[in-house]
Symmetry: C2
């Protein structure tokens, strides 16, 4: 289970080809073949079917492990080199779309800073591997509860904002006149599936305790909130947003009353903040 072999394995599995993986990794195709053979011998089982190249049952399972394993390895190395490295003068902040709010940005320094908006699930990894100095993630949670983030590495999370959430409904929708809505009543509705821009349906299911429900209607892959609002206004499905963000032409936002959920934003860092990052994090925390 040498990480090198693991890395080769995930590459082969991703590209469904030994030779393509060899090109990408800078090995000969023979070496890749030997890597896979070594890994299969080590584990005592076949991992890939050949022609076409596709993971076996055990191979599928290994992929689940290998991803986070390699990520953690990267994170560990990045963390250590960061500890030893120079204090950075530039600052990179990654944020999920809904985590970018005036209040959170007010503390951002104007110069020598980069803001990158990425899908929510990539934020912790970006901070852990050192691709960014700070991360801003958002999600649904019970009031004053921390977010449930995948632990790729020991990261420090601080809550920086909590705000009420609302259901976005098209103007003519029968429920649009209500003063408040209960999530449990909307389990069987059609929802927009926009994991990158909006809130993953999985989080709604977790919040209500329902294993099923919240059927996806249209899937939107992208990080633009305006598009998401337009889709909701067009009646293509429901979506949940922070109340302050929800108003849009042709749509109404109805507060969510039950369960008591908030849209929470957290600031993520490794605890080893260098130079300007430290001051910024401090400022953000105190501000909110």
């Amino acid at each position: 289970m040498d990480p090198h072999l693991l890395h080769t394995y995930v590459t082969v599995a991703r590209l469904s080809s030994f030779s393509a993986a060899a090109r990408e990794l800078g090995y000969t195709q023979s070496a890749v073949s030997q890597h896979i053979a070594a890994l299969e011998h080590d584990l005592g089982m076949s991992l890939l079917n050949r022609r076409p190249v596709t993971p076996t049952r055990a191979g599928e399972r290994l992929l689940e492990h290998a991803g986070s394993l390699l990520l953690r390895l990267d994170a560990a190395r990045a963390d250590l080199t960061r500890l030893a490295g120079e204090p950075a003068t530039a600052l990179t902040v990654v944020a999920s779309p809904l985590a970018v709010r005036p209040e959170t940005l007010a503390a951002l320094p104007v110069s020598r800073a980069t803001l990158r908006v990425q899908p929510r699930e990539d934020i912790p990894a970006a901070v852990a591997t050192g691709a960014a100095d700070l991360g801003l993630v958002d999600g649904l949670a019970a009031p004053s509860d921390p977010l449930r983030l995948p632990d790729v590495a020991p990261l420090t999370a601080t809550g920086v904002a909590e705000e009420p959430v609302a259901v976005v409904l098209p103007d003519g929708h029968p429920l649009a006149r209500r003063r408040g809505l209960r999530l449990a009543d909307l389990v069987d509705a059609r929802w927009l599936d926009a994991p990158d821009a909006g809130l993953p349906l999985e989080q709604l299911r977790a919040a209500t305790g329902a294993a099923r429900g919240f059927r996806p209607a249209l899937r939107y892959e992208g990080t633009d909130i305006r598009t998401l609002l337009a889709l909701a206004a067009a009646g293509l499905g429901l979506t949940l947003l922070p109340h302050a963000l929800a108003p849009a032409d042709g749509a109404l936002a109805v507060p969510l009353t039950e369960p008591r959920l908030v849209h929470r934003t957290e600031l993520l860092h490794t605890g080893v903040l260098r130079g300007s990052a430290e001051g910024l994090a401090e400022r953000m925390r105190s501000r909110i």
Copy 2:
């Protein structure tokens, strides 16, 4: 960052000695020295001070990563070999002390089963590495919320029980006559610190959102609930227990009313259940 080197490193750090680590690992002491040198060279920094052998700042940090890294590696290998291996006839169940309740045990088969009670924090690792087939963990959570478990590996968790919690107070305690207590009012009290037997104070802090408070009075290291109750009855500190477990001579249990917390028990497994384990898990789930 070869896992072999990492393994050597954590062993040296734990034993504070190159030669002792060499004995334990079956290497010569020279090889251990070379391992550490290779790792330090690879990362470009010193990890250990010599004479006495103690981790540097970077070394400390590496230890935090290395533990979970090696654990995940073990878990991955165990998971795969389990997938391929024979269906086991015997069954091993690990449980944290408070997860062992009549209701959860009623489904346990009488023969060919081993029950092992361990500190709460070791349960997920034991299941992930295949040391046990099933795990029973308990903890505090909001009603119908899942427990926050460290994710050493992709484990499947199913809730099997939820019950009210109570504060255990000695008979004469001024608060003992109350009908209900709010956790926020007890932040400044002295608490028993019994992470293995009772509920870790850290979970109380997380539940109330208080970063501080819940000062530990006496620390009890052990897994026996009766001892914990005796300590509480003797007035050495407060503790929180499932209400049904709380009554003891010289102590009273007062229900916790705010925040709305439950004592939750979850069944843990890898999803690859073999033989009798599968039937058992099914029985437990349906039972509760």
